[in-house]
Symmetry: C2
Subunit: 409 residues, 2 copies
């Protein structure tokens, strides 16, 4: 058992009940002892759903299932297990998913296409789905609206703390609530992280609108974080909207009445994404990288991720060394338009290099002080355009190697 | 001072004199004490040259100069310094290069476009070029044909051993010799490594032919290795041909009379590239990744590099864990065509997963034994085409973090 990340938030936030959402957890013993490792979420009839799934070409069987099911736009259940990813398990993995889906649909009384499955953990081991389905009857009995914190705990794998967030928003004057939980700490990179996140709201929004909002907010949150540049076979982000709040129907994602809801959704996803980074394997420092002056927002994000993924930048941060030369190197390898002689780099708010040259006689003392802290800020101005982006990562430490050189044993 | 890599070759090979090539080294004291840190190579009149340079968009001033000079196709001198990369030094860096080039051209008695400059080391510090040019007269006095091993030593930075290789080949019945030296151990990745390599031969070949052969061989050697996925601002590979061997003119790189020369060149570059990996920062294991069955050779190389660059794969190898699930993950994130259900993975020659599923009851003992060794072989068959590639890397260890969290201090 790993000790809690030094970057963890103070505590778990309050996640209120969301009308139309019930949760229950149980312990299957598949991999872990003495803790819950399976989560069932049930949604009221008429719940719309949207999702973003890993782009990995070796995605796990549950991802393949969710991709099909999302086309239906409707969700009644999410079943999540921790400890076994059911990935690279061939036809047996797919059969296991189908049996789990059927048992869940029978239990809930819904269509199979309304059941979503997510698994994380070890790859390549066949999932003993009977150990999960054996608990379905019991789980359904115990469903309750106040199970969010237990749910956040049940989906953890190598996480050192459980992750949740909640926001309120108004749609056309009607208050709605959004709750989200997430897990993930290694194999974290865009498209997406080894990351599961489940968000539910009582807003009434059609699936197509939900999907547009979710895709945009995901780009600015989970697709803007990285721990190690590795992409999981299991990444799954689902957003379910029960419509219990009874707000007026809004059919266009660009409708100004959705601005506040979008703002809340983006803020919630950034909160969860940052918690994932704060639980990055071996992380000792939380790093924010702000890029501006790039050719486009997309270019800015790619440059930011190139910096955030550089082992040399990350080890320098671990060593509390303001090694801006490595930041320049990472800008140069990003493959996006850059001009060495227009580039500026600031660390902890102090400009260290400007127009392609070190700033002569800059004051190193506040920078050294900043590098000793927990929160590191690196700002890069590419100097050629108006594209900007923010990206979050953590440092690369001995702890990462300890954890990953010894995960299976 | 770091101790010598456990993966280093037994000793430095014999590098014979090459007619038309002379070398000398000196100690400038710019960064290092008690060792030579500058190298001058002089070539006979009529020497042709080809080169491959970093694609970094923040390339150092010497790279910018070499890119221009290569257009001339002719080389009389190479001047290399270790310890200061003269990168991200703005107009001062370029002025420094121009002064060094002019002084060298004056000393050798050649055109400025025939002088090539290479620098590696710390980024962002202005190079005190007067400390280099002050030695030019002395260096020119001491030029001699047998200075290859001293040259290989003088260009080292964080390298723990000096790197060289030599090959013989025949062009239309005439024997020619190729010698090469290289440096590099961190910031190693394709396009290219933080790597300098200088190869010279007495073959008579025009610049255009040299360039074709060099580009191809570079793809299969230096562009097929990675230590940490980071790309330097200074990577430089030069190939000079003095024509002293007097072989018949060959005007077409595809001429069958050049097959043996190409084979020797590729073999020499692979040898040097593997030595760079063997000196990878913190490396404890040398890893060969063979990919076959991909959609194309290019796709195979990208998949191989995705595996080779994965921190999770590299830490698993450091931990002597045959974690093939992470190999699958890295195939999936490469962005090249793959079908989970056709994929096979073998480690140490033992097939562990086949057609997308773990091989039931495979013998773990020889695989565990293999993982404990110094040389690790991972073979992946994508199962969809005929593209293949070989890629080399090392493991990711605590040593890498020790070295890079503390490089500047």
């Amino acid at each position: 058992m790993l000790s809690k990340s030094p970057l963890a938030p103070e505590g778990f936030p309050v996640l209120p009940a969301i009308p139309g959402v019930e949760l229950a957890t149980a312990a299957t013993g598949i991999r872990y002892r003495g803790r819950d490792d399976v989560l069932l979420m049930r949604f009221a009839e008429g719940t719309a759903v949207a999702g973003v799934l890993t782009r990995s070409l070796t995605a796990g069987a549950p991802v393949v299932w969710c991709r099909e099911a999302l086309a239906g736009g409707s969700a009644r259940a999410v079943l999540v297990n921790a400890g076994n990813a059911n990935a690279f398990t061939g036809s047996k993995g797919m059969e296991s998913v189908r049996r789990t889906v059927k048992a869940s649909a029978d239990q809930i009384g819904c269509r199979e296409s309304e059941v979503f499955i997510a698994s994380t953990g070890v790859i390549g081991e066949v999932l003993p789905d009977e150990k999960i389905t054996a608990h379905l009857g019991d789980l359904a009995q115990r469903l309750a609206p106040h199970g969010w914190e237990a749910a956040a705990r049940a989906i953890m794998t190598t996480d050192t703390f459980h992750k949740g967030a909640s926001r309120k928003a108004r749609i056309d004057g009607v208050e709605v609530t959004l709750n989200g939980i997430a897990k993930g700490s290694g194999m974290i990179a865009p498209d997406m992280a080894t990351m599961l996140a489940f968000v539910a709201t009582d807003a009434a929004l059609p699936p197509a609108v939900l999907q547009r909002l979710l895709t945009r907010a995901n780009d600015r949150s989970f697709n803007s974080i990285t721990v190690d540049g590795d992409t999981s076979t299991s990444d799954t982000l689902l957003l379910a909207a029960t419509s219990a709040a009874g707000n007026a129907a809004v059919e266009d994602a660009a409708d100004p009445r959705l601005r506040d809801f979008y703002r809340a959704l983006e803020s919630l996803l950034i909160d969860l994404a940052q918690q994932v980074v704060r639980d990055g394997e071996g992380a000792q420092k939380f790093v924010t990288i702000e890029v501006r002056g790039a050719a486009s927002a997309r270019a800015a994000r790619r440059i930011g991720l190139s910096i955030a993924n550089s082992p040399l930048v990350k080890t320098a941060i671990a060593g509390e060394d303001a090694n801006w030369g490595r930041v320049v190197m990472a800008v140069g390898k990003a493959g996006e338009k850059a001009d060495r002689d227009r580039l500026s780099v600031a660390i902890g708010g102090v400009t260290i290099a400007e127009q392609g040259q070190p700033v002569e006689g800059y004051d190193e003392a506040p920078v050294a002080e900043h590098m000793r802290g927990r929160d590191i800020l690196i700002q890069v101005d590419i100097g050629i355009g108006r594209g900007k982006a923010r990206v979050w990562t953590c440092d690369l430490t001995h702890g990462y190697i300890d954890i990953n050189a010894d995960y299976r044993s």
